[in-house]
Symmetry: D3
Subunit: 149 residues, 6 copies
Amino acid sequence: MNDLLQKPRKVYVSRTIEFNAAHRLFNPECTETENVEIYGKCSNKYGHGHNYLVDITICGIVDCKTGFLFDLKELKAILEEEIINRFDHKHLNHDVPELRECVPTTEVLAVLLWDILEQRMHNINNRELALHEVKIYETGKNAVRYLGE
Amino acid sequence: MNDLLQKPRKVYVSRTIEFNAAHRLFNPECTETENVEIYGKCSNKYGHGHNYLVDITICGIVDCKTGFLFDLKELKAILEEEIINRFDHKHLNHDVPELRECVPTTEVLAVLLWDILEQRMHNINNRELALHEVKIYETGKNAVRYLGE
Amino acid sequence: MNDLLQKPRKVYVSRTIEFNAAHRLFNPECTETENVEIYGKCSNKYGHGHNYLVDITICGIVDCKTGFLFDLKELKAILEEEIINRFDHKHLNHDVPELRECVPTTEVLAVLLWDILEQRMHNINNRELALHEVKIYETGKNAVRYLGE
Amino acid sequence: MNDLLQKPRKVYVSRTIEFNAAHRLFNPECTETENVEIYGKCSNKYGHGHNYLVDITICGIVDCKTGFLFDLKELKAILEEEIINRFDHKHLNHDVPELRECVPTTEVLAVLLWDILEQRMHNINNRELALHEVKIYETGKNAVRYLGE
Amino acid sequence: MNDLLQKPRKVYVSRTIEFNAAHRLFNPECTETENVEIYGKCSNKYGHGHNYLVDITICGIVDCKTGFLFDLKELKAILEEEIINRFDHKHLNHDVPELRECVPTTEVLAVLLWDILEQRMHNINNRELALHEVKIYETGKNAVRYLGE
Amino acid sequence: MNDLLQKPRKVYVSRTIEFNAAHRLFNPECTETENVEIYGKCSNKYGHGHNYLVDITICGIVDCKTGFLFDLKELKAILEEEIINRFDHKHLNHDVPELRECVPTTEVLAVLLWDILEQRMHNINNRELALHEVKIYETGKNAVRYLGE
């Protein structure tokens, strides 16, 4: 029996994944000039790209029997299916249906990943478990966090 | 006199340490098959290992005289005594008494480090100072945070 | 129209900058012996130095039109003007007026950067936008966060 | 006078730059099926992208007067003009004339960067100075070096 | 046709992999005291562990048709089969037959990985291709390179 | 007996250390204007500073008995004594006698570290062992290697 887990312990577990994608920051409702003004070289016609590094954090009470918050193999499978399959080696503006009406900034991407994962986590029959945060590093210098607020 | 510290300022100070340890994820109350199902290759008989990277965060009001939250030399000595001495170059299942009845997952390890440091910080005669967070990176891709909740 | 942004979304955007500076931890109100006792080799006469890595985090609601929290070009210009120009390639004790009466610890530096940026952000005419956190890594092992508390 | 530099000292100086670009691995001389076989998801129609990290290394004898191998401000300007301006925020297949007839793999990119910089360094009137190596990290896991052989 | 590859270009391609393993530094031909003297806490009875980071570098002439030195999917499969399967989540002293008579230092491990991969590369029918270097980081502070000399 | 070491194996072992120091790039034999022209803001009067990261590489034949190239405890002690004690928490221009007549660029520093360590390694009674390389990262973007040429 695990004495350390006799009282409930709330932990935050983060898993880091990476996907490589192209995007173009361009709002079709604005003029070409406005787009250059707002997005600069990020609005170049054919797009550019990034190695997106994503930290997914879930939280909840540690399971007394396994010592895990959540089965890591299951989390990996979810992230593979929901994130890697949708975004990896894609051009975000062309290949991701949810982003077609959007300007695919890192802010918008963080919100989209949250919405996808939130929905998926809801279906897991574990009342203690919740998605806590999606953090995306677009480069080593820029990051966006979304916590569902 | 330090004008910047005339009003109390609450800061969070983090110190990163590393220890290299072996562990085996195996619950003796489960069957061999269940263990493989839950822990996969992490349940291999002799164990495997990690370079555990640990961020310890304390918080409180900056001291007007020193400009420090807490004497870093003292913090280093505490972490050396309480963490490095207990866990570095050890096999967590065999060499750490507190983990003998446990499955030494990163979640459990984060909780144990918190309990050890919480107790130790309590004995420091400084009402402003508190342990804020223990964060453990098991690999570059997996991390667990515990904040005492 | 961006469906994802139809309801307001609060995000946290971080930008990482670096400045290289010298400092000396020495309190002129204390004796030489006290200084060595408190600051050790950090009190060496001519100072030593660091590559200070700074994460600035702002938060607020994502703009529906641009998909940005805040114009990154403007943020870059602010950080260049307020942080890089003041601190990069400087000796903090000699070259930064605000630090002359202080011991320039990382804690004090985090508070000063907050005060400078808070003031500057106030003048931006955007009620949704706020400075959230200043985090400074003095080395890869030591970091201080200040959130304005 | 600098005693340490009385005898000639050959050093290797590296400068790291980053550019964010999209690319598609696709050879128009092959069939669609062959392309998928060779390049897998890297052959997706609109391309994907990376944060390309590039280490440029030059070598030669340290200058006795300045203590530098080469004026860093000049090196920065060269890399800005020759690399950043050509490749940053571009789609390599569409926007870079030299790559139009090529499959823009990291190997080919390393060779192209070498050829561009080699030519440029030749024009610098310093017989001691030479380009030594171009190293490109496409992701944290894949890197290619070219030394002009 | 790729003009850049009209003359043969020799490149070095590196792939980084990680495995998590336990080991104990202990030479059964020495006394207990000698072992402690030589290996210190690395000789602890049950072993400790590391996240071993391995850079495998191969070299040769870039292929004119593909723009690759070597098919990355094939390289990944080789490293999975020869390295990950043998070493990941293992206790090096107990689970790796080739290391049973050895003290599994990082030096010895680098030599073993070289021997395994050298043999395997030999069987690839490509006279241009060669294994160039095995580099192992045991921690962020210690690394060993072996080049077959 | 260690079969893997029956034939001599030449390995390269690297150890990473860090020291935090201040410096000023200023050549007293030049005018103030020339100094600003050559060194820009690096010539600021009181200096600035860096977290210098240093990779020391030694090479030679692996010892059959220990499986080590060289006793790591001894290497650590040498680096502590020769590098950390001389350079850590120092102002290079004021506190390091060997640099008083020099402009302490990273190039000059790499040469000095080589000279110090070369001399020291010579005194070790092991004909197989040699210093191979000193590499200094001044920032994450600039590095200098010296190999004794």
